[in-house]
Amino acid sequence: MTSILVIGGGIAGQAVVEELRRRDAQVPLTLVCGEQAAPYDRVRLSHLLAGEADASELQLRPDAWYDDRGVELLLGTTVTALDPDHGTATLDDGRVIAFEQAAITTGSDALMPPLPGLDLPGVHAFRDPADCAAITSAAAAGVKRAAVIGGGLLGLEAAYGLVQRGVEVTVVHLVDRLMERQLDAAAGALLLPAIEALGVEVLLEHATAELLPGDDGRVAGMRFASGAELPADLVVVSIGIRSRTDLARAAGLDVNRGVVVDDRLRTSHPRVVSVGECAEHRGIVHGIVAPIHEQAAVAADTLLGLTGPAYEGSVPTAKLKVMGIDLVTAGAATGPREVINADGDSYRKVIVDADGRAIGAVLVGDTRGHELLTDVVKRAKEVEDPLALLVEASAATAEDLPDDAQVCNCNGVCKGEILDAVRVDGCASSREVMARTRAGTGCGSCKELVLDLVALATGGADEEPAYLCPCAKQTREQLVAAVRDGELSSVSELTAACGAGRDCGACKPGLAYVVSEVAASRHREERHARFINDRVHANIQKDGTFSVIPRIRGGVTTPQELRRIADVAERHEVPMVKITGGQRIDLLGIRKEALPRIWEELGMPSGHAYAKSVRTVKTCVGTDFCRFGLGDAIATGIELERRMEGLYTPHKVKAAVSGCPRNCAESYVKDIGVVAIEGGWEIYVGGAAGSSVRRGDLLATVATREDAVAVSLTFLQYYREHGEHLERTHRFVERVGLETIQAAVLDEQSGEPERLRERFAIAKAASDPDPWLERHDPVNPKQFAELDTEPEPFTVIPPAKTPEPVR
C-alpha cells in the first residue's frame, strides 16, 4: 500500500490530510509539524491578539482526531532533506522515513523588508502564535505606542488587536490607500475613517527607512524616507509573505516565487505535490485560506491516483475580521466596467469584464449578499444588469445561494454540504452540522449563514432538544415526568419504563441524578448507573488509580488533621500530595484496594471531590485576621458547605465566601459566590473560571449572613430542579435568565422560595453525609477490589474526638 508523507502542519497540511482521509481511510499517513502543537487555524490569529480567543481554541482538530484516524503526527519535527527519487525524507533528529508520495505544505514566512534595525528587540512579525504571544506580552508589559508596518488585511487586524489591548497604534503604509490589493480608491477612502474611528492612526505613503534603537537598546521608533520620525516602542511588521521553498529547492524541484505546480498540484517531480502558500500555480502564490481547500482536494485526488476536476486557479477573496467594520472583496478591484451603489456609509461595487462576466466585487460598510456576489465572481457568471445584481444581493437570503456556493471559506464548505448534513446525514442541530462539516468553526464570520442554512434545511424546525438520553430521545423534562408520574425509584425502573440508558449507557449517571433529585434522595441507589468515581467515592486518574480528598470545610484545617494526612501519605507512600484550587488536600495515585484503609486512617469524611455535587466552599480569612474583612467569611463558608455538602447536583458546584469585595476567595467566578460588603452580603451565581471564564451575576444583596446562606441554598435547589445534566451554573444562568431565577428564588411573597428550601431540606436530610463509611459496609464484597484482589484489611480506629477547627 502506498504511504503518504505530508510535510508542514499548517492549514494546508491539515487540509491535505483531511481530503486524503475523506477519500481513503486506510492509506498510511504521516504529518510532520515543525511546531510543538497540532495544526491550528492561523486565520484566527487576529482573534488571539485581540484577546477574543485563546491559543488552544485555534487548534483545528483535537489531538485524539489524529489517533482516531490513524494519522501519524510528528510534532516539533522538521524535514531537513527530501529525496523524491528514492522516496526518503530526513528528519531533524536524523531519522530517515520512506514514502511513496509526498505533499509539501511548508507554507510561508512573514516577508521582512531589508530595514536597518529590523533585529532590534521589540520588532516582531505577525505570523504565528509565538509572534502573537510576544506582541501580547509586550502590550501587557506596558508598551505605549506601537507601529504596524503594512496596511494590508493582516496589518489592520494586528492594529485592531493592539488597540483592543490598550496600545496606541499607528499603521504605516507605503501606498496611498489601505488594502490596495483588494480595494479601489473609493473603497479605501471609506475604510480609512472606519479604521481611524477604532483609534488607529494611519500614515499613508510613508516609506520606512530605518528602525531606531532607544537608550535601552530596544526599538524606540522609526525614521521615514522623508526624514520624519515616529516614536514606537513596539513595531509589528506585516507586509506580506514569502513562500518557504528551501526544502523543495534543495530537493531539486522547480521553484520560482513558490514551488511550481501544475493543474494537478504536482510539482516537477511526479511523486510530490505542493499545496498552499508555498506553492505557485500559473504564476500565482495565494496567500489566503480559501484556495488551500480547493488545492487540497485536487492534490488528494492526485496523490491517490484518482481522477477529478483540475485546479484552474482561485478567485481571491478577503474578509476583514475587525469588529465594527464590514468589508468583503472577491476577485478584481477594478475593471473595464464597474457598477457602484454607494452612500456615505457604504460602498458596493461589481466589476464586469468586456464580455459582461463578473470578475470582482467590493463591499465596504454593507456586505449583505456577499456570499451570492462572491459566488457570481468565482464562477465568472455573465451579468446582464450589475446594478440589479447588487440590489438583488442586498435582499438575498440563505435560500438564494446556489448549492455549490462556498459558505465557509476557512474550511471550504459549500451550501450543499451543509444542507446534506441535515437532509442526508440526519444532523438535527447547528452544533451537529458544524461538528460534522466544520463549517463556521474557522474565523466564525459565516456562522450566522450556517445557522440560517440549518434552519432552512430543517424546515425552520427548532434545534434538537437537549436530550439527556439521545439514544432513546428522552429529555430531562420527559424523564422527570416519567419518574414522578410512575413513582419510580430507580434507574432500572426508569430504563424499563422508557428505554433510556439501555443502548449505550452513557446517560445512566444522568438518569441516576434525575431519580435521586425527584425522589429527594429517597431513591434506590444502583451503583451500575454511577460513574466509577461514585462507585468508589474517589476520582479516577489517567493510570486507573484514584485521588482522595477529605472534607476540609471552608479550607480550614487543624494541626491534628494535617499530621494525620501526613502520616497516611508517608505510610502509604502516596505518590503526590497536592493542595487543590479549592483549598483542599489531595492524595493522588491511590489504588482502589487501598481506599477503605486510607479513609479509615484519615478518619475524615469524604470531600465529595469526585462527584457531581457541591465540591468546595472556598473562604478568605474574613474578619478573623484580615485587616479589611467586612464579614465573617470563614464561619459563613463553613456553614454554607455543611448545609450544601453530600447532595448530588446537575454538575459540580464550586462556591466561595469572601469577606470583602477584594474577593480573595474568588467568589465572583464561582457557581455560588458570597461577598461581604459594608452592611450586608452579595450573592453571585453563574460564575466560572474553568474552560469558560465568566463573572457571576449578582443574584441578590441581603442584610445578614443567615439570609446569604438561605438565598444560596434556595438557588442551589432551583438549579438542582431545573439544571440539565452536566450543565454548569454559568450555562444554566445564561439559558434560564437571571430574572427568571430571581423571580423564583427571591420572591418570598409567592411562597416558592420557602418551598424550594423545604424540598432542599428533605433531600439533604436523606442524603448520604459520608459515603466513605461504606468502608465498613461495602455495597458488594468487591466494591473496592478486582476479581482477584481484596481490599486492604485495616483495623478500625475508634473515632477520636476530633476538635473542630480552631476559630
Binding site: A25, D503, G505, E526, H528, D788
Partner: protein
C-alpha cells in the same frame, strides 16, 4: 467445550466467583500477566481485554449497557460481543473477546492455548465466542 472455535483449543481457568461481579458492572482479573475485564449483563458474562487500546484506561471501571462498555477515561466504547469499537473509525483496534462460562458459581475464562503473545486483534470469530459464552451463562445469579 470447544465448540466455539474450529482450530483453537482452549484452556479454562477459574478466575473468581460469579457473584463478585454485580449486574451491569465489571471487574478485572489478571491471567498470565494479561489484564482481562469481566462484565455482567442480563445476557450473562462477557470478558474482553481489560485495557482500553486508546490510553490504557481500566475498562472494568466503565459504564456498562446492553452490549457495550464505555471507558471511564475518555469515553471510547466497545461492543462486549465483538470487541469492536463503537462510533470510531474503521482502523480502530478491537478488543479481544474471551469466552466465559459459570461452573458451580465460579467464573471460567477460556484462554486460547497459544496464548502468547496476546495481541489486540481478535483472531477467532469473536461473535461466536461471545454467543457461546452467553448460551452457557446461567440466567440468574443474584
Amino acid at each position: 467445550m470447544t465448540a466455539f472455535a474450529d482450530t483453537e483449543t482452549v484452556t479454562w481457568i477459574a478466575v473468581g466467583a460469579a457473584a463478585d461481579v454485580p449486574l451491569w458492572e465489571g471487574r478485572r482479573v489478571t491471567v498470565e500477566g494479561q489484564r482481562i475485564a469481566v462484565f455482567h449483563t442480563d445476557a450473562g458474562f462477557h470478558a474482553v481485554d481489560g485495557s482500553c487500546p486508546h490510553k490504557q484506561g481500566p475498562l472494568q471501571d466503565g459504564l456498562v449497557a446492553d452490549d457495550c462498555v464505555t471507558c471511564p477515561l475518555h469515553g471510547w466504547r466497545f461492543s462486549l460481543g465483538t470487541g469492536e469499537r463503537i462510533g470510531g473509525g474503521p482502523d480502530d483496534p478491537s478488543l479481544r473477546v474471551y469466552p466465559v462460562i459459570v461452573h458451580d458459581g465460579e467464573l471460567m475464562l477460556g484462554l486460547p492455548d497459544d496464548t502468547e503473545p496476546l495481541g489486540l486483534e481478535p483472531r477467532v470469530p469473536s461473535r461466536d465466542l461471545a454467543q457461546g459464552a452467553r448460551s452457557r451463562a446461567p440466567l440468574d445469579l443474584r
